[in-house]
Subunit: 442 residues, 3 copies
């Protein structure tokens, strides 16, 4: 099993989807499967979601008991909910969890009571500036209960007594996450992670979870150079729990991406790792250069699980990839982040960027010219373009650039950037030169 | 005595003046006290000035005998002057040292003679392009005598015999400078220096001397982290003499500023140290960023005593702070550089910048996150903003930025710049995190 | 023999020509001498050219037998040509090598045949978009024969039988190159190289060859600090052959230039060495800064013999200097690249840049201030401008800049750039300070 095989298998499989939007439909389909499930940072919603994903990839599901110490944190009690509603004095359910799981403040403690409108309002969350939308709210670490609803509905509620009912439980249980490790030729890993704790919000983060599943489904069948670890875990506490239990694996992570919000029409946006100059940072910047709407931004300790992966004690070479940045679009954390908000073409485009990045990481290396004194005679080997033409000129240029820079200190991405030639052409040139014994790739 | 105390005492005392212009009036008052004195690089003028400053701070006055070797230089003879005038043939004093001490070429040898107008003119300095102003001229190292006067007055002088009289002495004596060392918790020093050799020129440098005195007067009463050395010495030869006698102290200088021309309406201008990236350079650039009119310029080996402090054998981390750069304003080295030319509001503004820089230097350090793996749980400690709002969001951001960058390689100014949050907020966050055992500041 | 002498002799001799265009006429004259000769990568044309150059400098001519292995290459058979023509059925020579040696494909094998127009055309090279010009074509490593002619002439040829005759030989022989080593005070060398394999093309590269000869003729008579090696060799195979036979010399090359296309009206263009920050790169960028039309471009592994000199196994600090870049002007590799296309004024300007660069390299060093603590007293030594004036102010500035930066880490070019003063003034200041025992230059 040699390098070339890895490259070709990897290249072919991921690249096969690059020109179609079928992949976008596939990702949207997986997102639609898991969208209705009510997830939180623990509980059966996460379990059902991972169960659904198991149809696509051989996930290993981990259960970590409540109360487990994970660094400075403790795994919280498990939350489950069966039913929740507000009924008016006529007994009509005016807000019902069955219609939209955003209606309940996540981690609400159980309640059954009759309240005046005034009392009720203290437990209601709305968005006065987006009156038709239901907000998404959580209260993981402070025991309380609450409902979320459209502000325009709240405004019309008449005075009177309201029945509130939340049939939830907050008990010893466990935190659940799913993981799949694809073994490549190297033990060095690429970590790809998506948070799985949000309820019915399509972009944030059914899109990230579904794209990751679609990607894993392909990589399962491929021979790769790197090993690939796919992590589906609740945000913050899930990432912390995984890190606390996986310090052995952490040392092997050479590249990584935190994925979320991959289906809207904005961006794409790449946020650099804390290091700022990791290979993944350079690769993503290379791929997004000149792409309309694309932004490459510096690391900040705000955001999703890059906060944990890039904490100073780990400082992993992991960036974050989104379309619109979370928090920057009006649908964010509202009932408007639904399945219509994410589009197959945007999901496909996100997939293309990620797949192209992985292809570069798979192939990149610091080649070494085995005949570094003067140019080797390419003509004698049939490598020198005999007849002109743009294509063959570019190929000859790529050969000369690789030969010239292949001193073991420049990676192929360096050569692509320096020569202003496509990475694929540089990679092909390096392969060709290796085949002729002129260059050693790694 | 802990860090927090230093910071608070230092912060409070210097910051107390930051919003008022009372400090400007105070500095102007000190400048007005010393303005009339005829100073040169040696002599009683310097002594009387230091005497006046002693009312404000516990200065130690040093006398270094003429003839003392200081590096490549020799302390010159001491110059004193009692009287000087030019009288016309009617015996009327048309130029009199008593009216303006700029009238005499500094370091003039004594003379008493009667000369024709033509002979007299060889000893007269004027400014033909600023005909109403008296220039300031010196001849420290070439024995000669001379007068300075308004060009328009010279132009009107009738032919005839003129009596010139300079009652000066140039004799063995000493060079005088004043020094005050405020001891802080650390032996590491901040050196603040102002040249004290110019006669009645208000901006250059009664302003610098007076501001330094007002600053010292406050620091005397404070507990500080750094030790502070205040130096009032004649330009060039004074700085050279101090350096030659203080090599032990030089090794302890961690930051410094050369101060002059701090009262005019121009600038402010910060000139970097020869190093270019010293903490004082970064601090001043941070403070002046976006300030209208402010300029930050690179080191040049021209100017005032930064020439000596930043000579390659010392290469001290000392910049120079002025409003208009010396030599760049028309009043420079003329009788127009008088007490009206410097304004309390500009002096106060200069003070504010310097005080703010010292506050940053006092507090800056490279903090270390004591729980660097993942984020610590801020919520449990009451550090996580529970309710939104811009202020609390900025505080949370500051906490997260400090935690993330506190790996012992980034100073708090780095964190402030990287996060685009105010230094004070970052410093407060670091203090709070230290109080909760999450960060060690130094 | 001290530094100062070197500098003065070198300075005077090269500088003597800098203000005249006589040097341009001289270079044009040498170019005109060698222009008619039919050169290729081997053969008598190269020998006759070197013979002509021997009148100007004491060249050593080397002959390397065909078949010699030079790195990955083999010295090819020697090609010579005596006669070549195409005659029409009337026996009239419609294309004749005697009129223009571009008419024959370089390295054509011998042929004598009668062909139809259709058959003939397979062996004819023209430029349809420049129909009046004869192209320059070669086929060094694939045995074939061919003619080059104006497209408009070809278009008018009537059908019929044509006689083609090429009386050439391709036989065991040798590759010829010329070399001259001027010994300076140091064994460290400056390598100046021009390719000598092109037939009657004036800019590419009679201009480079002639300029190099004119430069060498002067350096022959000079005392220099560096040793200078002048190399006149066929492109690619000549440079490779020289490198293969001269690895001892290669280690001594501290600076170098590949010279070609130095007589047209474009540019000038400096292409950096592969290192990008070699002294020659900085020097050329310094000289071309602000020069109208001048371009400084990054290294690419395309071009002339910098491809070999800057291959990764050598990575020599050699840039390439041209006016228009080869390949970028319409006359390139056509019969329009004739003696009218190169102009004395452009040749003179090219010479001036190269001579100025050598003057800087000769003088540059990292001076060391022998009295680095504080400024030395310049006045006492008569070095301080006593009376003002722009010129003397610039001189004083230069002295202060050299003293301040002369810590052994900054070269004089650094000081010139940092101070924005002319290199010559900085060099003069360093010389003066050395004469006064204040600075050690190397």
């Amino acid at each position: 099993m040699n390098r070339q095989n890895h490259f070709q298998v990897a290249g072919a499989s991921l690249a096969g989807d690059l020109d179609s939007i079928a992949i976008g439909d596939e990702i949207h389909g997986i997102a639609a499967e898991i969208y209705p499930i009510c997830r939180s940072i623990t509980g059966n919603g996460v379990r059902r979601t991972l169960q659904a994903l198991k149809r696509h990839l051989p996930l290993v599901v981990h259960e970590i008991p409540s109360g487990t110490q994970v660094f400075d944190w403790v795994v919280p009690p498990e939350w489950n909910i069966r039913e929740a509603y507000i009924a008016n004095s006529a007994g009509e359910r005016i807000v019902d969890f069955r219609h939209n799981n955003l209606h309940v403040l996540s981690y609400s403690v159980p309640v059954h009571a009759r309240l005046s409108l005034e009392q009720l309002k203290k437990h209601i969350h709305t968005l006065p500036e987006q009156p038709a939308l239901i907000p998404y709210r959580t209260s993981y670490y402070a025991e309380q209960w609450g409902f979320c609803m459209a502000h325009e509905q709240l405004a019309k509620l008449p005075d009177g007594l309201y029945e509130v009912h939340i049939d939830s439980s907050l008990e010893e249980g466990s935190l659940t996450y799913g993981e799949y490790l694809h073994r490549g030729a190297l033990r060095e890993e690429v970590l790809l992670s998506a948070h799985i704790c949000h309820p019915s919000l399509a972009n944030d983060n059914c899109s990230g979870v579904a794209l990751l599943a679609a990607l894993a489904r392909r990589i399962v069948r491929m021979r790769t150079r790197y090993s690939y670890r796919f992590l589906f875990a609740p945000g913050t506490i899930g990432a912390i729990t995984w890190l606390a239990r996986s310090e052995h694996a952490v040392r092997r992570i050479h590249h990584g991406l935190v994925l979320s919000c991959l289906g809207d029409a904005g961006g794409p946006t790449y946020k650099r790792s804390r290091r700022g100059d990791a290979a993944i940072d350079r690769t993503m910047a290379y791929l997004l250069k000149g792409v309309g709407g694309a932004k490459v931004i510096d690391f900040t300790p705000l955001g999703y699980d890059e906060r944990q992966f890039c904490s100073p004690g780990f400082n992993l070479p992991m960036g974050s990839f989104q379309r619109s940045q979370h928090g920057s679009f009006p649908e964010y954390h509202t009932s408007a982040d639904d399945l219509d908000f994410i589009r197959p073409e945007h999901l496909a485009d996100s997939y293309r960027v990620i797949a192209a990045a992985l292809q570069i990481l798979e192939q990149d290396c610091k080649p070494r010219n085995l005949m570094p004194k003067c140019e080797p005679q390419l003509g004698r080997r049939g490598l020198y373009a005999m007849i002109g033409g743009k294509d063959s000129a570019a190929k000859t240029k790529a050969l000369l650039w690789v030969l010239n820079m292949a001193d073991g200190t420049h990676c192929m991405l360096d050569i692509a950037e320096r020569s202003d030639l496509p990475f694929a052409l540089i990679a092909e040139a390096a392969r060709l030169l290796e085949a002729h014994g002129l260059v050693k790739r790694c």
